[in-house]
Symmetry: C2
Subunit: 147 residues, 2 copies
Amino acid sequence: MNLESSPLITALQASGHRITRQRRVVLEVLEESREHLDAESLYWKARQRAPRISLATVYRTVAVLKQMGLIAEYSLGEEHGHFEAVPETPHYHFTCLGCGRVVEFDAPQVDRAVQELAERENLEIRAVQFSLTGYCARCRAGGPDGR
Amino acid sequence: MNLESSPLITALQASGHRITRQRRVVLEVLEESREHLDAESLYWKARQRAPRISLATVYRTVAVLKQMGLIAEYSLGEEHGHFEAVPETPHYHFTCLGCGRVVEFDAPQVDRAVQELAERENLEIRAVQFSLTGYCARCRAGGPDGR
DNA sequence: TTGTAAATGAGAATCATTCGCAAAAAACAA
DNA sequence: TTGTTTTTTGCGAATGATTCTCATTTACAA
């Protein structure tokens, strides 16, 4: 069994949390995934490696990680949350109301604006939520979904 | 009884929706309020003028308005949504995790970034969600709530 | 005024998320 | 190792926000 420490594991451990099989698995899934997973899919993927894990544990784990700033939660236009390991460089999301596709983009101007605001108002920013919804080029043109 | 048409009423009517007493009241409350109301408080305020209105109708009304782009829904760090009539000039929110205060601010840089992105990628942007959470100056200094 | 499609009220249903508690597992000390 | 302590887990029940169902009412065009 792999006992290497991933960045997330190391950080968790350093903050005094216990490293359980369940947490290890959830973190692995989060690190390996390139998509934005919601709690349910995180749960099903985790179950492949830790069959007895419960949905509550998934929620508890992401809550801890979120509080530590290691992962971010997004709404992405749906009614339930999606999670993602916090990336090196911040990026944001556009969700198409037509086809549901999620496109990531970066926006240095926004990063700068946040930093300036924080300095000017003396704020400690913990999370930035910047997401756009609308219709993508394909759907505007009367795409596959025939909006 | 006031039969004048507010901007929201006019827009609703123009789009082919019926103007009911309940909708009129919900719209009035939304227009008069300077705060970000959640469905529950919208419901209680509306009941003062239309005592038999139901919570479901409040939800249905904001759903229609939201879809028409007349009001915006925000998370504001809580688990339920908050609503606000869409303002002339866009503005955004900072929610303090310490004292819960919500501060509005504008960010022309962000507006510009959105516009540029939309043009470059040929997107039709319907909603912009930009909100920050963290600790305000007062709470960082060990404010009233004693974080 | 009347006919009809749209909107409402009431409560049940749904869905995501959290809670409570006894049992299991980690961390730590001996 | 082994025992002790404390955290975490699993399970199912509870919660809270939002949506749905459906019989009844209402707006509004003719």
